[in-house]
Structure formats: C-alpha cells, structure tokens
Symmetry: C2
Subunit: 206 residues, 2 copies
C-alpha cells in the first residue's frame, strides 16, 4: 500500500460512512413524511428512528426543509419519474413500466401523494418543486402526444396539451384511490384505458 | 304575545346563537385545515380565529376529530358533491356544473385535496370518509355510464366501471394541478375532453 493509497482509504472511509448515514436518515425521513406529511412529521421523529440527536441530524441536513428537498430528490431517483426522455422507449411503454414499478412501492407513492397535496397549502416548501414538476411533465408528455399526432396516431380532435395534462391528472388521481382501496383500483388498467381512448392502433406494416 | 310565544322565542334565541357560533367555528376550522392540513392545523389556531378559548371551542366540538368530520360534512353541503342522483340532470351536466362552481371556491377545493391526500396516512380520522366517498362516487358514475352504454352512447370498448374510476381520478388530479397553476390548467376543459372521448354524440332525432 503506498502513501497515496492510505490517503485515499482514509478519505474514502469517513466519506462512505457519512454517505451511509445520510442515506439512513433519508430513508427514515421518507417513512416519517409518508406517514405524517411534512407538517405532521417532526425532525425529532426522524432522529429517533435512526438513533441520533436532533443536533447530529442537523449536521447532515441543516433544516427540515433541506431534508424534505433531499427526500423528494431521492424519490425522483427511485422512480425515474417516467419522463419519457429516452427516445428508445415510447410514451405508453414508459408510463406503464413506471406504473407497474410503483405497485411495489406503495410507501413512495404515499409520500408523493401526501407531499404533493400538502404543497398547495400556505407557504409550503415543496410548492415550487411540485409546480415545476407538473409543468415539466405536461410539456414532456405533450411533446410525445404531438409526435403521435404527426404520425396520425392521435384520435382526431384530441389536443396534445390537454391529453398531457389529463394523463398526469388521471395517474395521480388513480394512485390516491389505489392507496385507499388497493383491491378495487387498478392504476395500470386505468392508464391503459386512457391510452386506448386517445391513441389509435399502429397501422399494419405492409 | 302568549306565554307559549315567549317560550318559543326564549328557546329560539340561545339556539340560534349557538348555531351561529358553530357555523363561525366551522368556517375558521375550514380555513385552518385548508391552509395547514388536519395534522398541521391546531385547535388553538381555530380558537384564536374566532376569539374563543380552546375549552369553549371543545364545548361545541368535543375533539379535533369531530371538528374535522363536521368540516367535511359542511363541504359536502357546499359543493352538493356532484352526485348525479337527480335524474333530471345527466352525468355530464351535473359534473360540469359542479366543476364550474368549484372554480369560485378554491379554498374548498384546497381543503378537499389536502385532507383527501392526508387521509392515506397512518390512522388518519378522515380515511373512512374518503374511502367511502370514492366508493360511492365510483358506483354512482358507473351506473350513469352503464345507462349511456344501454342507450348506445358509450364508445365501444369503454368499461363503465373503469370510466367512472377514471373520471373521479381525472377530476381530482386536475384540481391539484389547477391549485398550483390556475392560469395554465382548466379543469372544466379537461373534464369535457374526457367526456368527448367516452360519450358518443346523441343521434339526431328523426
């Protein structure tokens, strides 16, 4: 082992440990915010879950707001957020794949639903995040619907912008109903139903 | 004035005053829950708004939970909740009328969105209310879509149950996006778009 290696290991050691600790805190915060919302969830509750003092926790995330933003970023990483930016994959495949994936992570869906709705309340720190997220999603889906229209595959009369907004709305609303009645509500079936309404089948290749 | 009349007035007086007080408390609770959610909103906050002590407030509503349920009932009264039970009015007219009405009461919509999402969290007192509300709405709309199907006015391939679930979901999701971006999102336009997809135009009468 050279001096350089030792230096690296020393640097990597504490760094890795700190990263691990950060990750553990984020997992705990995720659980707390999903179960109680941002306003109802407390830093003390998160600290208790990971066996830290609040002061130690604030060393990793300087404020509750910072913790919230980190949890939301982490959520984006987990879900990939179904932005159909990968041109290899079509809109339908991308949305259905993500919706199927979400069936296995009800806790993450719950976090999203709770924080999103909470964000419409007075001076909520998540408001900008959700407003921008919706704007980005609507634009991204509208582009894809417009592409389908150009290929003659959007039902005549369907507006790409309105279809994009409706798809996002439908998905969110179905997830809420699903969390309350998982045996009765099928998010994927609902999304497929909508795609079948607005997208015309591909003409058979000649 | 007879003795009987005096008795009546005496009874009506305190009763009317108490009813008025209840109504004032409900209005304040509505504002507090809409702005902070149920978990984030405090009884003290409601009491402060109406200039009562918490103890006096608890005389009218024995617990925060009771206050929540009363606020939700009041919301149902205000919105009429778009149950198309009035057979004189069709599904589309009923939904669009309510959606137009909701445009003027963003505070009530906010309360609904926030409490509904919060209700999916651990042991939330509103959970049963929202679960039952969704079930009732889905059934009610499914019946109406089935009637349209029987009249040959549902697009072939559209399932009444799935359409009902999707309509409820779409409406909720659009309202959330509208609260965050009222200038960009048009709930009524989104709902009309969906109706245009699933319901076929009435054949011209001969």
């Amino acid at each position: 082992m050279t001096t350089k290696d030792v230096g690296r290991a020393a640097r990597r050691g504490p760094y890795a440990k700190s990263e691990e600790r950060r990750r553990t805190i984020l997992d705990a915060a995720h659980e707390v915010f999903a179960a109680h919302g941002y306003r109802g969830g407390s830093l003390q509750g998160v600290a208790d879950k990971v066996g830290l003092s609040q002061t130690s926790l604030l060393h990793y995330f300087p404020s509750k707001r910072d913790l919230l933003m980190a949890v939301l970023e982490r959520r984006d990483e987990i879900t990939g957020d179904a932005f159909p930016d990968d041109m290899e994959e079509g809109l339908v495949d991308s949305v259905i794949r993500t919706a199927l994936f979400n069936e296995n992570i009800p806790g993450v869906v719950e976090l999203y639903i709770v924080l999103c709705a909470e964000s419409v309340t007075d001076s909520h720190p998540g408001r900008v995040y959700f407003t921008e997220r919706f704007e980005r999603l609507r634009k991204s889906y509208a582009l894809r619907f417009a592409e389908l229209a150009a290929q003659g595959r959007l039902r005549p009369g369907v507006d790409p912008d309105l279809a994009a907004m409706s798809l996002v709305a439908l998905w969110d609303g179905l997830q809420t109903q699903w969390l309350l009645a998982p045996d009765e509500v099928d998010v994927v079936k609902g999304l497929r139903g909508y795609f079948n309404l607005v997208i015309l089948p591909e003409p058979p290749s000649t």
